[in-house]
């Protein structure tokens, strides 16, 4: 493994850890706010007890989310310094805005939510709960504006003098359709994960015959919330896939293991990839698969007849559908880089007209500049198996959750929850699955974008800091050890707090 691999490994490690805690924060904050609202509306102390129990778990999760999140902000600079310069003029803005508009909000009011029970009025406390929820979700908004821009860069111009991309239109960046779809899909994933967590923990109480009233009301609130969020997730997922098809056709092809493009393309509902399959050969793509006919054309282009390009088409080109080959793009990219170089030489030599000519020539091929860093078209293919399986795990789990929420709601309404133990077991065992689905989604988005760090503009290999590989190895292992140690403590504390049950309100707590 070289410097780029280690830098990617470290970023992936820290991001995957961070993203273990984020979804729960996103969803649990709303669930807590909803429960506290019910308490304030009804004045029923049992709802207060329920709320406090989930706030406690929220806090245990929140602090480790903050701790692991801190590093994400700085890692762009420490490990991706070239990236930070080349696109920082656009990418830095949403991160700074996240700090001002969101992180302060969630953290400031988190203190009230946690420690303010006796110090502030009921109304102020409830407001704080909602502001924490809004703050955490706003935070996701700005981070995903930044990430959306990495998937589909808009609103910028390349400045050949400073050798970076500069912001041309801020509104295009924040209202990018990719960013909007990503934001909605990610928070939806967070809500569903939190709902699965709440119903799972509640199912554990019911299985042990403890706190049945508390557990039942938690299940009703969380599965309603989860079901609602699942439909939201379906819609935003559909929009996300639609965006990927338009903006990142290679990612879509990898998600579906589609080599040979076709019209009326189907979606693989289940499939085992043939590991020997190479771009352009005649081997079958799958050992076995079950397809939903036409679905990919509809999903990607909202048109049953639409042609969905496969990896072969994107690598070798397809004249009929006007798709340029990757090799051609690489050639044009190299030409662009040569002209850019000539521009700098001329400028240094004081040759204004020469610089002008070089710049015009550069502009003609500028949009392929990123491709100029590759030597082989096959370098532009992302890891297919990882992208494919992650996508299918995510979609499969998401579908399972819908069934689970409906079943729980039905059992809850008909008062059969306590007696249907197998359903409770399945629910309890599903707790980790929400997290798995979220991480799988993250992998689809980020691994599917490879080899680009900014789609079509900047290859990942050109973004890193000029570090020696040992430095990154040292910090990689330090993060691996520290985060794993903290995760173990977090899970143990969480389990102890759950086992302790919602008794924490029984010390005679009440609002001032």
């Amino acid at each position: 493994m070289d410097l780029i691999d280690w830098s990617r490994a470290q970023f992936a490690l820290t991001a995957i850890y961070h993203f273990l805690f984020v979804p729960l924060t996103l969803g649990l904050s709303f669930l807590v706010a909803i429960m506290e609202t019910i308490y304030v509306k009804t004045g029923d102390e049992k709802w207060l007890k329920t709320t406090k129990f989930w706030v406690k778990l929220f806090g245990i999760n929140f602090v480790i989310g903050v701790a692991t999140g801190l590093i994400m902000e700085f890692e762009f600079g420490t490990n991706w310094a070239a990236y930070s310069w080349i696109v920082g003029d656009i990418f830095g803005a949403p991160l700074a805005i996240e700090g001002i508009f969101a992180f302060f909000l969630e953290s400031t009011f988190f203190v009230v939510l946690f420690f303010g029970w006796r110090r502030v009025s009921k109304g102020f406390h409830l407001l704080s709960a909602w502001l924490v929820a809004i703050g955490t979700n706003l935070s996701a908004l700005w981070i995903l504006v930044a990430n959306g821009w990495m998937q589909f860069p808009v609103g910028m111009e390349f400045n050949p003098d400073t050798m970076r991309y500069e912001m041309a239109n801020f509104w295009e960046v924040i209202f990018s359709p990719v960013a909007v779809a990503k934001f909605l899909h990610t928070i939806g994933g967070g809500y569903v994960t939190a709902a699965i967590f709440v119903v799972g923990v509640s199912a554990w109480f019911l299985l042990r015959g403890r706190e049945t009233q508390f557990a039942r009301r938690s299940i009703i609130v969380a599965s309603s919330f989860g079901l609602f969020a699942s439909f939201f997730l379906l819609l935003s997922g559909d929009e996300s896939a639609h965006q990927v098809a338009q903006k990142q056709p290679m990612k879509l092809a990898a998600m579906e293991g589609l080599y040979k493009g076709e019209g009326r393309a189907g979606i693989i509902a289940f499939g085992i990839l043939n590991p020997d399959k190479k771009v352009g050969d005649d081997l079958p793509e799958f050992y076995g698969d079950i397809q939903l006919p036409y679905a990919l054309s509809i999903l990607g282009y909202h048109d049953i007849n639409a042609f969905v390009p496969g990896i072969n088409d994107l690598i070798n080109g397809n004249e009929k559908f006007n798709i340029m080959s990757a090799g051609e793009k690489i050639e044009r990219g190299k030409v662009a880089l040569q002209h850019l170089n000539a521009y700098h030489e001329a400028k240094k030599a004081g040759d204004t007209s020469g610089a002008e000519t070089a710049l015009q020539a550069f502009d003609a091929n500028q949009s392929y500049m990123g491709y100029g860093h590759f030597t082989d078209p096959l370098q532009t293919v992302p890891p297919i198996a990882l992208t494919f399986y992650s996508f299918h795990v995510m979609v499969g789990l998401g579908s399972f959750f819908i069934v689970l929420f409906i079943a729980l709601l039905y059992l809850g309404m008909t008062n059969e929850l306590l007696t249907t133990r197998w359903a409770l077991w399945i629910t309890f065992m599903s707790i980790p699955l929400g997290f798995v689905a979220c991480e799988a989604g993250w992998i689809v988005a980020e691994v599917g974008r490879q080899p680009w760090v900014i789609q079509d503009l900047l290859p990942t290999m050109k973004g890193s800091s000029a570090l020696n590989v040992q430095s990154v190895q040292i910090t990689f292992w330090a993060f691996a050890v520290l985060f794993t140690a903290l995760l173990i403590a977090e899970i143990k504390i969480m389990m102890a707090a759950i086992a302790n049950g919602p008794h924490i309100a029984e010390k005679g707590d009440h609002h001032v």
Partner: protein, 370 residues
């Protein structure tokens, strides 16, 4: 309104905001300073618990300010972000690790099932309590003493020292800066106890300790300032950067209202707060710290002076003009900055609402206590 500003004005404005954020970051270190003192101030379990809970309700401000500081530098001075973070890799990494262990330690210290026992989390807090202010002080000092980097034609940077930022610890001036910030954070930490605790024995012990540490803080701060004023520093004259004798003294006296006055008033407020040691002295100390650090950071970069000199290649030194974001980004971000007073406003509201003095009883009864 910002659209009509000249580019240099926008750059100065943003350097001012970054300097102010640096000031806030330094003043929030009172949490670190305070938590490092807990082992020596708490004579019994009740006091210990009180103090951990006291600072444990403020740690989040350090995180938010650090993140905002990082974001602001990224957006407004991306070349500094790239050069410093990517270059002085280990200096920043150690600082980040020191922060990572803080947040969880407060929350997990007394929790059932915390695996490693309270002692480990208390050790984490002691490490964070010393290392964060020390490294922030060292890093601030490197804005004057410089780093070993070059910036190439494509504006990509390379760090020439294999220690990757840790070599800054071998420069006495930087170490002096680090110790000064540690002492300031401890003084502020003690002033915060005097501000928010009513337990008599604890207050007495704190007052006693405060006197000694305050004198040390003043001595170190004064030596740091004097050394800075005579330090030969990088200065920009037209296109080239040269070393100028007493460059920072010249800068401070050239901008008496923006730099010298805030620094002198800040130092005065800090000393005044420390000597008075009353209930509201904390605010005196805090305001003084913000002003001092603001003036120091501002002096390094104001009007295009090199705020991050390179001693490997003087012409690679960073100024607010050669390292800033584009005009468009600065304008957009300037509008965003108008929201900062709103943030300060709600922080103040929450601070007030939560400011009833903390007592042993409350901690015992509150199931959410750390």
């Amino acid at each position: 309104m910002f659209e009509t500003w000249e580019l240099l004005s926008l750059q100065n404005y943003w350097w001012g905001i970054v300097s102010l954020l640096g000031g806030f970051l330094a003043m929030i270190l009172f949490v670190q300073g305070g938590q490092a003192l807990i082992p020596s101030l708490a004579k019994n379990e009740a006091d210990k618990s009180l103090l951990y809970n006291l600072y444990g309700r403020k740690w989040e401000l350090g995180f938010t300010t650090l993140v905002l500081f990082g974001g602001a530098v990224f957006a407004a001075f991306p070349l500094f972000y790239a050069v410093s973070f990517g270059g002085a890799y280990f200096a920043w990494m150690v600082l980040l690790f020191a922060y990572i262990i803080q947040a969880v330690s407060y929350e997990y210290r007394t929790k059932k099932g915390n695996v490693y026992g309270s002692r480990v989390y208390e050790l984490f807090l002691s490490i964070n309590g010393f290392l964060s202010p020390f490294l922030i002080g060292v890093i601030i000092a490197t804005l004057f003493s410089g780093g070993a980097f070059i910036v190439d034609d494509a504006n990509l940077s390379h760090w020439l020292n294999p220690m990757r930022g840790l070599e800054a610890l071998s420069v006495p001036f930087n170490v002096l800066g680090g110790i000064s910030v540690v002492l300031v954070s401890r003084v502020l930490g003690m002033l915060y106890i005097l501000n928010s605790v009513q337990e008599k024995s604890l207050l007495e012990l704190t007052r006693k300790k405060l006197r000694i540490e305050l004198l040390m803080a003043i001595a170190f701060l004064a030596s740091f300032a004097l050394w800075l004023f005579v330090l030969p520093g990088a200065a920009a004259h037209s296109e080239t950067i040269t070393i100028e004798a007493s460059r920072y003294w010249h800068t401070f006296t050239f901008y008496p209202i923006v730099l010298l006055m805030p620094f002198v008033i800040g130092l005065g407020l800090f000393i005044l707060g420390g000597f008075k040691g009353g209930k509201s002295s904390f605010w005196c100390g805090v305001a003084g710290t913000v002003l001092m650090v603001f003036a120091l950071l501002m002096s390094s970069g104001i009007d295009g002076a090199p705020f991050y000199p390179s001693y490997a290649d003087l012409q690679s030194s960073l100024t607010i003009t050669n390292s800033s974001g584009s005009r468009n980004t600065l304008v957009v971000m300037s509008y965003v900055s108008l929201f900062v007073p709103v943030v300060l406003g709600y922080i103040a509201v929450v601070w007030r609402a939560m400011s009833k003095p903390l007592t042993h009883d409350e901690i015992k009864q509150d199931p959410f206590s750390y």
